[in-house]
Amino acid sequence: MEKFTVHTGTAAPLRRSNVDTDQIIPAEYLKRVSRTGFADGLFKAWRDDPAFVLNQPRYDGATVLVTGTEFGVGSSREHAVWALQDQGFKAIVAPRFGDIFRNNALKGGLLPVELPTAAVEWLWDALEGDEPPAVTVDLAAREVRAGERTWAFPLDDFSRWRLMEGLDDIGLTLRHEADITAFEATRASWLPATQGA
């Protein structure tokens, strides 16, 4: 996983709340067995509209998406994270995220940044204005900066460290393999098995 410390880039304002996973990428695109190449399905239903934010030249190359509350509610499809990353996004800013989407984003190194609604609205106005500011997402400082403004965002220490080091979760867990084996020895004998071990 690519390390994330500080990122500055073009931000795109997506003025919608409750953008569910089916809007981020429809099920039709989930038939693929690869982990990349999902950008063509991103926000599929909206991409034909010339007015859609990602079709506006001023947001070309956007790497930060600023969107409404409850972004990523719905399905567990990690393809939603992959599609956003394939499009070039490094961070998503919203007041609140669906739990599974947020987990998936953290696993894959797409930073979910929770900012208050007022901050999101300030960013929307600024990004739609005549001189949209670049947006900086500083994971080290847990801050978002744009123009003269700075906002702190919450993220637990462990997730921050993992992202900054670009570490693989499975590798981290396997450091505790002895604990896993010890736990397995305590499991009740009646627990079901799908087949012989």
Binding site: T69, S76, R96, N104, D179, L191
Partner: protein, 469 residues
């Protein structure tokens, strides 16, 4: 000193802690990992790339459901879907995972298969790369959906690092009125709480109306926990749970059964345990329910009207309602009973079990699906289909003019040939009414199997009681 009273959720969490404390999240052991074709291929690729094996093939089981056709058991016409199914078959063979493929007696929607095999039991942790894994919480198991990276993590380690969630109680007091189902109950809960109301919480459904539900009804309620953002939904195990499990293929037997039941009886929330939040609902006030918008929280009683967005004080909810009505092509003030439908879908992990099919059949018996309406009935598993046929339910469906199909996810999610046409309107027993969920441009209204069947007969939204008027 007596132990601090704990909730069911806390007991389940504590019983699966491989390690806790320090700077890291808790590490939870996973008792059952369910696999399907959509969210697993990249996880198996990850194992291969790292040279890792599946740690516990004996706690892992796979089936094919999302991509499968429901008009036949042999031909997957779409080459991309076929490749995904074949990839699952190759991965299961290579890594030694038990698979119930298309055409197998135990094939079906993953959340129908686990419980009917008796693999989902109280006190367990259950995960699957599918958000409706919350279904299994109906047994008093901690069950939640995960992404593909986490699927790979569980395959490799049989554990997941997790932050301890908050707890919430949804207490449903009293008795559900005649004609009001588990589906109506959960749709009403979501309309009350909003689609984000449960974020960060494990929810325990409790109270007299919940205790009175069958296991099928409990699964319907827990299934839709994710639709209001909850991490998981739970219902404490009781005699209804034990009666459902006893004698199932993977349920314990003899002395092991007695030991298991003894443990399961220790799981319900202790007297005096505290939840971080609580919602209280009076069952007597509930009626058949239907959604009007594009998220599962946008619902009203069947007897109500399409709401006016101007009536929402919250600007976010108002904006969402405006967009939803435009997409759904509905005018404020329209009576839901005056809205006509093109397609009726009965099935899915929410309402594709035998009791759901019985409920639809009871309404359809001796009646006909209205002209111009297409009704599809899709059993949740091959076994549900066989059970329905042994009871003669298929004859009722066919005589009514409905389409009786094979098991799969079908029109729940627009990933297989069963899709809603652009602009078409459905009454659907599934779980999501998102824009385009059942097919691009399709308009979905979520209902119970009973309301779906009555709507098929009337050609517009109706309850079974309306048909007798």
């Amino acid at each position: 000193m007596p132990d601090k009273p704990r909730t069911l959720a806390e007991k389940l969490w504590d019983a699966h802690l491989v390690r806790a404390g320090g700077d890291e999240p808790d590490l939870l052991y996973i008792d059952l990992h369910l696999i399907h074709e959509v969210t697993s291929p990249q996880a198996f690729d990850g194992l291969r790339a790292a040279g890792r094996a599946v740690r516990r093939t004996d706690l892992t089981i796979a089936t094919e459901d999302h991509n499968t056709p429901t008009d036949n058991l042999f031909t997957i016409a779409d080459p991309i879907s076929r490749t995904q199914i074949e990839t699952l078959r190759k991965n299961c063979a290579e890594f030694g995972v038990r698979l119930h493929p298309l055409g197998d007696d135990e094939q079906g929607v993953v959340h129908v298969v686990g419980p009917q095999l008796g693999l989902t039991q109280p006190g367990m942790t259950v995960v699957c790369g599918d958000s409706h894994t919350s279904t299994h919480g109906a047994f008093g198991a901690l069950a939640f959906g995960i992404g593909t990276s986490e699927v790979e993590h569980v395959l490799a380690t049989q554990t997941l690092p997790q932050r301890r969630p908050k707890t919430m109680a949804v207490t449903v007091n009293g008795v559900l009125p005649e004609g009001v189902s588990a589906k109506d109950l959960i749709l009403a809960v979501i309309a009350r709480a909003g689609t984000g109301g449960g974020i960060g919480h494990v929810v325990e459904y409790r109270g007299e109306a919940i205790r009175a539900l069958s296991m099928e009804g409990r699964m319907t309620v827990c299934n839709m926990s994710i639709e209001w953002g909850a991490k998981a939904g739970l219902i404490a195990p009781d005699e209804t749970t034990f009666a459902y499990l006893e004698g199932r293929q993977h349920a314990p037997e003899g002395a092991a059964w007695d030991a298991a039941v003894e443990y399961w009886k220790t799981l319900p929330t202790d007297e005096g345990a505290e939840f971080d939040a609580e919602i209280v609902i009076d069952a007597a006030e509930l009626t058949p329910f239907v959604t009007w918008g594009t998220n599962p929280g946008q619902g009203v009683p069947l007897g109500a009207e399409v709401p006016d967005p101007a009536s929402f004080t919250d600007p976010v909810a108002r904006g969402a309602a405006e967009r939803a009505l435009e997409y759904m092509d509905l005018a404020p003030g329209t009576k839901m009973r005056d809205v006509g439908v093109d397609v009726v879908f009965v099935g899915s992990c929410t309402n594709g079990r035998i009791e759901d099919l019985r409920g639809a059949a009871a309404v359809l018996k001796g009646r006909k699906v209205a002209d111009g309406v297409r009704m599809m009935i899709v059993p949740g598993s091959a076994r549900v289909r066989a059970q329905a046929e042994s009871e003669g339910l298929h004859e009722v469906f066919i005589a009514a003019g409905a389409d009786w199909r094979f098991a799969g996810c079908s029109m729940c999610l627009g990933m297989n040939p069963d899709k809603l046409a652009p602009g078409a309107r459905s009454a659907s027993t599934s779980n999501r009414n998102f824009e385009g969920r059942q097919g691009p441009g399709g308009r979905t209204h979520l209902v119970s199997p009973q309301v779906a069947a009555a709507t098929a007969v009337a050609g517009r939204f109706a309850s079974p009681a309306d048909l007798d008027k």
